[in-house]
Amino acid sequence: MDFDLFLLFLQQGIVSGLVVGSVYALLALSIVMIFKTSEVPNFAAGEVFMAAGYCALFLLVFQHMPLWVAIPVTLVASFIVAALFRRGVLKQVAKASGSPVNLVIATLGLSYVLKGLVRRTGFGDTPRSFPALISTDSIMIGQASITKLDLSIFITAILVMAAVFWMFAYTKVGRAMRAVGMNPKAAQLMGVDLERIHMLVWGLAAVISAIAALLISPKILMTAEMGSIVTMAFAAAIVGGFMSLPGAVVGGFVIGITENFVGLFISSRAIVVAPFVAIMLVLILRPQGLFGGKFAIKKV
């Protein structure tokens, strides 16, 4: 490979990796938020993302609604469905057993139901898209070419991440969320309404997934299977330590860039396996992830 080409690959790999990494980062944020407060890895995160995308598609393309109606409706609907799932289903599951694996299986159940519902509409098979919310004209960064949509995906990911940080760090409700995550009993004693906090976290996590769906459905195209991208988000979350919000975002970028570099410098065949190798390497070198703190043993 000559040096010019190497430079081009390097630049494009970083830029494209950051963009696709932002998507992983947004979904990873939604997973980590829920995990921090209820220790449930949400296996339905990908399907919530997918269903939100189809909700937007339905409103925009089939109902011809204007953006200013379709977007809020999608976000609110995602919030409500996720919050109700927490309230109506997971609360009962937690009460009935309390074992995290039962909660995981319940989220898995939700993922099947959502996929089945979307498929029953008949729109789930052909890859689809709705008009991109932002123009897909190309711009150059160095020698790397990206679209304005790509750039806005990246910026949105950063903004959402900042907003989530701010909420967790500086607002009353954010502090309550952290308290619930650290010690639910103590939080309850301090007057925190546990169920309300859980519903809020689930709802907000779904809103973040929905934002991701609105931004990238035109970019990756929608099918009922598009939720499988969540695997990359789990990879991002684990690289970042699974408990850390900035970790999730950095993890997303790491996975995105790794995928591109592996594709460019090793083999296109190896792109799919790169995130898994990254997970294993990170966990072998640092068993609690790049940003994970020292693991505290909870059960005594």
Binding site: G122, D125, T126, A132, S138, T147, E225, L264, I271
Partner: protein, 408 residues
């Protein structure tokens, strides 16, 4: 819901009936299962649920409606075709379960099924050992066709070896290409396809720059950049619809202006493709491969779409129906009907197989004829190419195929 209840009820009834019928069937037609003086039972299987439903659900429906048409015209030698349909989920374990159920429980005369190549290959040994004819639906299924067996017939859509070779042949003839960028999937389909492409590239002295990607790929930047860096005369895309659209869009974003040729594996829905690649601008120098005799809904094959509407008014009213691969079910069903007719009033599985091997007819639905032979089990190897600019489709002259030959 009605469908569900009906199938459940039928499953229950057949279980009951099979007990009672066992004795009767043994005496009435000891020679061949699934055969009575007034009926002939055909076992169909296809993905009727899940992620791969688009590949087979309506293909099975198409075959079924063709059988219904034959029944209305009086059946075959006075026998009505009775279809038992099973969901194979495109998954090897479930497909084998469906096949074994059809053969052993439902005692069908022959099998007509399979839309997913890798899964249908899993049934090969069992079918051959049980000596049941298997006529595939739309699976290319090359893995079960080469080496040829006595019992399995397929590639009614087209053999993947032929798809790959024809792509190279077309690029070389139409654009005088000497260097081709080629992108396929890392699955069975992709492997067969690449083998066909390599055969033609060798004969035509064309260089192939190959990238293989997973069907689940989300970011196609890396493979595209590498292909572009090989400085090709044309880009051949033999992926499924979604990665194909992503690649075409990426090519437009990066200002790639050489011809792009998309294989039949990715041409599911052309108007949707235009929307997915961000509009007509991305399709300035764009060609698609097709195996149908005409454009979807075009005059030559309009009757297929009309028959679908008449047979399944509820389905036809649903979005995205008929699914794009629907017509592929017709040549498969036609072949069965022709072979059964030729096998005479007292057909046996062996007689039907002998007649299948002799088939050579134009279905009117596909670009090429259905041709089997003593050692040929892949029905179709001919493709056409269409220039598509986002709105209009123009047929390119010539019919293309591969130079690939099975070396057994």
């Amino acid at each position: 819901m009605t469908m569900t209840r009906r199938t459940l009820a039928r499953a229950g009834l057949t279980t009951l009936a099979s007990l009672g019928f066992a004795a009767f069937a043994a005496s009435a037609s000891a020679q061949e299962p699934g055969l009575t003086p007034t009926s002939i039972k055909i076992g169909m299987f296809a993905p009727l649920s899940g992620a791969n439903m688009a590949y087979g659900f309506d293909v099975a429906n198409a075959a079924k409606m063709y059988f219904d048409k034959i029944n209305k015209e009086g059946g075959i030698h006075g026998r009505k075709i009775e279809v038992v349909l099973e969901d194979d989920r495109c998954n090897a374990n479930d497909l084998v379960a469906a096949v074994k159920k059809l053969v052993e429980q439902d005692q069908v005369f022959l099998l007509n099924g399979g839309s997913c190549s890798a899964a249908v290959v899993a049934a090969k040994e069992y079918v051959v050992r049980s000596k049941v004819p298997l006529v595939m639906l739309n699976a290319s299924g090359d893995g079960a066709l080469y080496p040829p067996t006595d019992y399995i017939f397929g590639a009614f859509s087209i053999s993947q070896y032929a798809v790959g070779g024809a792509m190279v042949d077309f690029a070389a003839k139409a654009f005088g290409a000497k260097k081709l960028a080629y992108i396929n999937h890392d699955d069975a389909y992709g492997a067969w396809n690449l083998e066909g492409s390599k055969a033609d590239a060798e004969t035509l002295k064309v260089d192939l720059a190959v990238e293989s990607v997973s069907p689940t790929i989300n970011d196609v930047t890396a493979p595209f950049l590498k292909l572009r860096a090989s400085n090709p005369d044309a880009l051949l895309i033999v992926t499924y619809a979604r990665p194909a659209a992503l690649l075409i869009k990426k090519a437009a974003e990066m200002g790639f202006n050489k011809p792009i040729i998309l294989s039949v594996t990715g041409t599911a829905n052309l108007s949707q493709l235009t929307a997915n690649v961000g509009g007509e601008a991305a399709l300035k120098n764009f060609y698609v491969q097709d195996v149908l005799a005409d454009l979807p809904g075009g005059p030559k094959i309009k009757w297929v779409y009309d028959m679908y509407k008449a047979s399944y008014p509820d389905l036809a009213a649903k979005p995205d129906h008929p699914q794009s691969y629907m017509p592929y079910g017709i040549p498969s069903a036609m072949s069965i009907v022709k072979a059964l007719q030729a096998a005479g009033p007292n057909p046996t599985r062996e007689k039907v197989i002998e007649e299948m091997k002799k088939l050579n007819f134009d279905s009117g639905v596909m670009a090429g004829p259905v041709v089997f032979g003593p050692n040929e089990r892949a029905a179709n190897k001919a493709t056409i190419f269409i220039k598509f600019d986002g709105k209009n489709q123009t047929l390119m002259p010539g019919v293309f195929t591969s130079r690939w030959k099975y070396k057994g």
